[in-house]
Every structure is written in C-alpha cells, then in structure tokens.
C-alpha cells in the first residue's frame, strides 16, 4: 500500500460519465407482525462508471436494506414494493432467477460488515475464492486457483500460496476482510458495494483496508458504493456522498462540499457530533449533539422526518419536503436550506460553549497521592496444552505496566485490539487476578487482597462495559438492576429510600424515572448504556473504569454519552480510566493518554502533547490512521500506513515489542527492551530513538 492520497485524482475510468447504476424511487418494506416498516422509502441515486459514492446515516436509517435491495438479496419478510433499479441499463427488478444469479458476483459484488461471519467456517479459503470465479464460467478450477493466489497477494496477504489453503478461523478480522475484497474483485465487477467494511476493525487495519479499496477503485476501475456511519471513512474514500435518515435520502452532493457546508440539519448535526482529532479546542469538552432518537419506523411523522429533533424547525416543516437541488450538484430535503437560509458553519467542538473544566489536575504528583497506583502489573493467561505432553504456553496479556491516576483525572487507554487494554482494566477492577505486580487503590494494596478485603473498595471503583446488551440481565427490570448493588452494600435502609435513589440515578443519567419498571430490551443501545452508567454510579464511586463504553453506539449517541460522562464527572468529582479505540474521542475527553502495545506501555503523555508531539513511532501511526471527516484535511495530510498486524502475544518479539513493525528499528531494539523513560514534563516513552520518526 502506498501513502498516496486516495483516488480523488482523475482515473482511467471506463467511459467516465456512463451510468453503472441508476436507482429511482426505491421502496423496500418489511412486513412485520407489528405493521409495515418502510425501511427504504423512495430512495433515488445513481453511480457513474468508476465513481466512489458514500452512503452515511445512523443505524436503522436504511443503508443496509438499500444495499441488499440493489442485488435483490432481501430475505423474508422484506420486499421491494416499488421503484426501479437499472444496472448498466438493465432492469434489475425484472430479472429472472438466472439473470439475477449472473448479475450477482459478476456485475455487482458485495463486501459485508462482519468479516468474522462472512466466510464459511468449514471451507478452505481457496474453495471459497475459486467458486466465485467458477460460478460465472470465466475460469477453470486451476485458473481460478492461481488467480485467487495472485489476488490474495494483491490484497496484501503475505504468503498467499499458503494462506489459500487455510480455513477462515486461522485469519484475523483484517485478513478476512482482505479475502472478502479479493472475492469481490475476482470477477472484475463494474460495481462493488461495501457495507460498513471496516466498522468491526481497528483504526490501523481500517486505514489499510480503506487505502486498499481506494487503490482497487483506481486499478480495476470499478465503481464503489461505500456504506458507513462514520463521516471520516467516507471523506477518506468517496467523491460523492448521500446522507440517509429514516429511510430517505436527505442530502446528496460532493463529499468535500457536504462536509464543509452541509445543507441539511441532520448532516450538520452528524458533523458536529464527531470530535476531530485535528481540531481540538482546549477547555471545550462538551459536543454539540441533537437529542432524541430517529422516528419509530412504524409511525413516521407526516412532515419532515427530522422535525422532532431539528433545531432549525420552522412552521412549514409540518409538510414533507422533497429532495431538490439547492446548489449546482447538490440536493437537500429541507425547507430551510431550500429557501436559501444558511446553516451555521459546523465547527466541531467550537460551538460547544461548555464550562471550562474546573479541576484540571496538574501532574504534580508530590502534592496529592494518586488514587490508583499500579506497579509492575503482569497478567499471563495459560493456553490449553497441545496434546498430553505439550508444554504450557502463556498469553502475555499485560506485561509489566506502571501507571498512576490522580484524583479527578481522566486517563485514556488506547492501542489496537488484543494489546491488553481490557485485561488491564479488569485487573485494576480485580475481576482478574494479577500474575504479579502491585495495585494500590486509595492507599490500599489490592493486587493480592481477598475478595472480602476488596468488597468495601469495590463500592468506590466501578466498571462500564462496551456491550450494554450483554452486561444487563434481561430478566430484571431497570429498578431491580439499579437497586441490587444498593441493597447488597446496604446503602439504603428502607424500600422507599432505595426507590428514591433509583429515581435519582435515572435522572442523573438523563432517563425518565418512570422507566424504572421496564426491562433492558425495551431500551435503545444508547439508553442501555445510560442504564449501565447509572448502575456504575449506584454506589457513589469515585473511580470509574469504562471499557469502550461508546464503541457500539451511533455517532450522535456517542456524543450524547460523552457529554453525559463529562457532566457526571463534574457533578460527582469522578476519576475515569477510559478505554477506547477512537483516538479522536480519547483526545477530546482525556487529560492524559496511555498507549498500549502487546501488553506494554509505549507512551504516556498529556493529551495535547501526545497529539502534537508524540515520541513513539507507534503513537504516530495510530494518530495517522484516524480518518478525519473533512475531505480537504484528508487530502492534505500525509498518511503513515502501518503495515501488518500485531504479532502474537504468546511469543512477543524480544527487546522492543514494536520492532517488527517499526520503520526505524535498529539492532539494539531487538536486544534491549527500551525502558519507559521521562522525556518531558509528564511525557514518557519507551523507545530507544524517541521522536526520531
């Protein structure tokens, strides 16, 4: 992969301008027991040969259903009830089964969101790749296999001859997505649809895959529809973008213009809700969000579907606006912008006039003792032995970590998945037992303390998990979920007191106290995460460990939860250990950031320092991999593509763990483990050549 800015340069598109796909007034509906869900409601767009089109919108807005409709891959109970889909002039909706089969995989190919489930687990990669080519009769088995090998090589898979005989479970998520791309391009389709192809991947791997998609678009000349809920991803790859809301297209235009000057309030809100890694304004931590959720698909508002949440609403919004041209090449579905009114310029975080942070803790560690002090923390997980006589092997999940967290501080933990962030959090919360090392919390040693000795401290230290679905007991009402810890720790005396406390908690996290009688499944993802947060707050803790608390949520909901966390911190003087893979978010809310790699700390620095003057090569790479929702900025910045994936934590590299991927590694890096040394005030890095990359 090269570092060239993705494909906005003119490319050798076959007969540029000729339409590959033309969708008119597409309507797809789900016939459910509760009623008809208009998942896609009158969507029109077109894609020219070799073009890259992005589709954004929050989950449930109809992006995936649109994509599936294009290839007629819908399952019961959904059906296309109206509209027209033309692929290279042919009417897709009129095709019979055999014509459709020929279209799929040859004319249009598709890459799906979850690479872990997209490949058949019991079939070899070779077979799955070759059959795609054989199915369309263009290659014999031998030809298909040799072409599969060269395609895998093209997709950046090392030793493709060997890889092709593997089974999917032997591959990481990133590699599987490369296989899916190889599959998609194997018949040189005129159009590739990629539905959230990088959502399940790490930022570094995401950057690799997006770069690859842009390159393939250039080399194969295939038009691409890239679906994503992340504006940064779209800005990175797509020339044109359509924004979907509640089953409709609400805005369409060239990516740069839409992101710089949105013409629909929903787009405007989306852009504002994302913290930007390249434009951080000190002392403004709250994000501009639009409250509320998308309309109930069973009861759509008759006027503008965004009206209930729209800050620019006018009287006319009772009527349903049409999608019409508001500027050359740009369309929007909004009465206000159609009348020529401008929306305020989106300036991330700048508009958010949150109160400046009161207690900015200084790194002067000698004044106040740290709330949490970790020294030499180690956790090794034993692997199952191979056979009876295999030798015991260990995953070095956390391998000697030192860290202090001051009261009132927000410390961020970043790094690729599998590098020990969650294990570290669970060690600190003593969900796992450390293999070695010391953990002092509020002056007490808890690394080897018994469960009963920890119990009083548990009250002060709580965890919030990534998956709000899995962490709430589905058979308990919210009231039960929240009152359980309160009663267990005897915080209240009477049932009435407990009830009051539950109501207080729900109000604190922005939920209606009347919802206490409901069960978790009656809430949306964002609301469930609020409930998890309320549960964590139930015992009035002073320290909260949040493990990817917003990763499974939509952009706008993410912003709401971030704001909630910030408010709660100010209200209750909380200290946070915040784990996330989204560096922009971490930068936005954290005072200090810790960079993890293969169980070790690579760098610790105040947030501002880390992003402006990082010392460790790995940190540089991580920052560079974050997509920026600004086409202009994306084009101007130089990208550092971090190749490969972290090596196995079973046999980590000797010396510096990063050396196998480090471009400036020297012989000494393999021999001597670089110590985590202070280079500036409060800025530590573990590298023999800090800042030289």
């Amino acid at each position: 992969m090269d570092a060239a800015p993705p494909n906005r340069s003119p490319r050798t598109a076959p007969a540029a301008g000729s339409l590959v796909l033309d969708v008119r007034d597409l309507q797809t509906q789900f016939f459910t027991d509760a009623g008809i869900v208009r998942a896609v409601d009158g969507v029109s767009f077109s894609v020219s040969a070799g073009e890259t089109l992005g589709i954004v919108g929050e989950s449930g807005s109809g992006k995936s259903v649109t994509a599936l409709s294009l290839m007629r891959l819908l399952d019961e109970p959904s059906r296309i009830v109206g509209g027209e889909i033309r692929f290279q002039g042919r009417d897709v909706l009129a095709m019979d089964a055999e014509e459709l089969r020929k279209l799929r995989g040859e004319g249009i190919a598709m890459v799906f969101q979850d690479p872990m489930t997209s490949l058949n687990p019991v079939l070899r990669i070779a077979r799955q790749l070759a059959e795609t080519m054989q199915a369309h009769g263009r290659f014999t088995r031998e030809q298909a296999t040799s072409r599969a090998i060269s395609l895998l090589g093209r997709m950046g898979i090392t030793a493709p001859e060997r890889a092709i005989n593997s089974y999917p479970h032997q591959f990481s998520g990133g590699m599987r997505q490369r296989v899916m791309l190889a599959m998609g391009f194997s018949n040189e389709p005129a159009l590739l649809i990629a539905d959230e192809p990088t959502t399940a991947l790490d930022v570094t791997i995401q950057a690799q895959i997006l770069g690859l998609i842009a390159e393939l678009n250039r080399d194969f000349g295939a038009a691409i529809i890239l679906i994503s809920h992340a504006l940064g991803v779209i800005a990175n790859v797509c020339q044109r973008v359509i924004v979907m809301y509640a089953g409709e297209v609400v805005e369409e235009g060239p990516t740069e213009q839409v992101l710089a000057d949105p013409r629909h309030p929903y787009t405007w809100a989306l852009i504002n809700a994302v913290p930007r890694i390249d434009r951080h304004v000190p002392d403004t931590r709250r994000l501009v969000t639009i409250e509320g959720t998308p309309p109930d698909p069973l009861a759509m508002p008759s006027g503008c579907r965004f009206a209930p949440r729209c800050p620019f609403r006018i009287a006319q919004c009772d009527q349903h606006p049409a999608l019409i041209e508001v500027a050359p090449g740009r369309k929007a579905r909004c009465w206000v912008t159609q009348a020529g009114e401008p929306l305020p310029p989106p300036a991330t975080a700048r508009l958010a006039a949150g109160p400046p942070r009161a207690a900015q803790p200084s790194p002067a560690q000698d004044v106040t003792p740290p709330l949490l002090s970790v020294r030499g923390l180690v956790k090794h997980f034993a692997l199952p032995r191979e056979g009876f006589f295999g030798k015991g092997r260990y995953v070095h999940a956390v391998d000697g970590v030192d860290l202090d967290v001051m009261p009132g501080e927000t410390v961020g933990l970043v790094g690729e998945s599998g590098c020990g962030k969650s294990t570290f959090a669970r060690l600190v919360a003593r969900i796992h037992e450390p293999s070695a090392g010391s953990i002092r919390f509020a002056g007490h040693e808890i690394a080897d303390a018994s469960a009963s000795a920890i119990r009083p401290l548990r009250r002060r230290m709580q965890m919030v998990f990534q998956d709000p679905y899995a962490s709430l007991n589905p058979r308990m009402t919210v009231a039960d979920i929240l009152s359980e810890p309160i009663r267990f720790h005897g915080l209240t005396k009477t049932a009435g007191e407990t009830r009051e406390r539950v109501e207080e908690l729900l109000t604190a996290v922005g939920l209606n106290p009347k919802m206490a009688i409901r069960y978790p499944h009656e809430f949306s993802g964002g609301q469930r995460q609020r409930i998890s947060i309320a549960r964590a707050l139930a015992l009035k803790p002073d320290f909260i460990i949040a493990d990817e608390p917003i990763s499974s949520l939509d952009v706008n909901i993410q912003a709401q939860i971030i704001n909630l966390l910030i408010d709660l911190q100010e209200k209750f003087q909380l200290t946070y250990l915040f784990i996330a893979h989204d560096l922009a978010v971490v930068r936005h809310i954290c005072d200090r950031i810790v960079v993890f790699y293969l169980g070790k700390v690579m760098e610790i620095a105040p947030a501002a320092d880390l992003f402006t003057a990082s010392l460790h090569p790995y940190t540089r790479y991580l920052i560079s991999a974050v997509p920026i929702p600004d086409a202009d900025a994306e084009r101007r910045r130089t990208r550092l593509p971090l190749a490969g994936e972290p090596p196995s934590a079973v046999d980590p590299p000797s010396g510096c763990r990063f050396r196998t991927r480090c471009p400036i590694a020297q012989p000494i890096c393999a021999e001597v483990t670089p110590p985590l040394a202070t280079h500036r005030d409060g800025h530590l890095a573990a590298c023999h050549f800090p800042g030289q990359f």
Binding site: D114, S118, N120, L123, F388
Partner: protein, 336 residues
Amino acid sequence: MLRYVLSRLGLAIVMALLSTLVIFLIANTVPGDPVLSQLGDLAASNKEFVAEWRAKWGLDLPLWQRYLIFLQQLAHGDLGISISSQRPVLQDIRDFAPATLELASIAFLLSIVVGIPLGILAAVRRDSWIDHTARLISLIGVSSPTFWLAFIMLAVFYGGLQIAPGPGRLDTIALPPHAVTGLYLIDSALAGDWDAFRDAGAHLILPSIVLAAATLGLITRTTRASMLESMQQDYVRVARAKGLREVRIVVGHVLPNALIPVVTLGGLAYANLLTGAVLTETIFSWPGLGRYTFRSAVSLDFPAIMGITLVVAMVYLLINLAIDISYALLDPRVVR
C-alpha cells in the same frame, strides 16, 4: 490431525479402563443375592453347598482381588462363564451380537438415508407440503410407542396384507447361511445363496422400520433445524451475493455446517439402537443381544451382565471416538 486422533484414542483407552472398574463395582454391589436366584430355595439352605458354589465362582474373595482377576481374564478375552447358560459369556455374546448388529445397522442406515434428505428438503422448502409431511413423519416416529408400532406393522403387513414375513430372522424351515460374520445378509451374499439373502432381507424390513422410527424422526427434525439455522448465517448471504446456484449454496455451504450437530446425534442414536432394542427384539423373536440382556438380568447372571455392560460401554466409547473424528473432519476449527 494425527495428533488429535491419537489424543482422542488415548482418552478412549483411559475411559475404557475406568468403565471396567465402574462396571465391576456396580455389578458387585447391586442388591440381590445370586445364590438365591441361581440355586433355588432348597440348595440355598444347604450351607456347605452354598460355600462351595461361592468358591467355585470366586464370590468369596475380597473385592479388589476379584477386580484384578476380572481384568486379567478380560485381557485374555475371558468374560467369565455365564451362570445361567454355563457357557463362556464371550461366546454367548458372539452368538447373539450379529443379529442385533445387523438389525441396528439396517435401522440406522434407514434413518439417515431417509432422515437427512427429508430434513434438508423440509428446511429448503420450508412450510411447503414436503415440510408438513416431514413433520408428520417425524412426529409419528418419535411419539409412537414401539410395541404399538410393531403391533400395527405386524397386523397390517404380516397378518392383513400378508406381504411381509413374520417374526424371526429367517423362515422357520430355512437354514441359516454358512456363518462367516453372523450377519445373514453378508453371509448369504458371500455364499451366493440369493434365496437366503432375500429371505433375510425380507425379515429385516418390519423390525428395522419399527426400530428406526424414533431415530428417523429425531434425525429429520435435527437436520431441518440445523439447516434452518445455517441458512440464517451471513456466509449464506455472501454465497448468494457471489452468484452461486441455489443447489450449490445448499449442498456446498449450508449442509457441511448443518451436518455437524447431526453427526453427534446420529452417532449416539446408533449406539442406542445397538444397545436398546430389547422390546423390538422380543416382539419380533429376534435372537439378539437385547433378549440376552433381558434374560441375564432377570436371573441376576453376574458374569453375563458384566460382559454385556462392558460390550455396551465399549460400543459407546468406539462410537464416541468415531463422532470425535468425524467432527474434526467436518469442522476444521476443532483441530488446533
């Protein structure tokens, strides 16, 4: 793969040893005095006679010694002498086992050859008449009591229509083919005796249908459910998006995944057929292990019971081994 098979084999051997111990202990601690049941009241009241009898069968030694002797004998293929038949237990089992093996295997083949395709069709044509028929067949199979089904079968096809032969492995006047395996179908084919082959085959039809019924129902339902579950998976949608033909998707992508749970069920069902045919064998006068077991049990014939239990345990262990190995063949994720 080899390493996996070896480690499973090792485990099976350990389990086999353990099971000999368990079987020995159970057999020697069950209530019921064999003296009484074997000797009758008169002889049992004679103390000397009883002591002599106990010594003869080793019943007077301490438990652990008896276990060691038991193991030693086992190593020589000696399962002891049946108290009631006064013949080596191994020989008894050898005489009775082929009839059961033949019946159970035919029943098993019947249930997979019919059940799996039926389950596949039912899943692929969900809610069509095929699905409903399959549901009806498996419902009848699973829910009809064996004796009832056997009675109906005999009444209709043997008594009423007279198109099926009656009980037994062969016609009463026919001679069994020269014994090589003890399986009449194979022995008669080897001997080129096609009349005997037809006769043995015809006699197998009704009992194997009766025996297979429940298994067939179970396998059909499991195959259908497992197919439906696999058809929901993302990779099926991917396969469709690749432009594969429906038949290829079902046979090439869905089935290999769907068969994994069916293999476990099928293996265990086969073991059940081999060891649990008492009722069917009794009704069809089938001279198999089931009837031998029954006879030995009522007469508290310890050596015979131990021998049979041991055989049953080994059958289960072997089949489990076979399940484990086919699992590894079907699912690459099993072998690390």
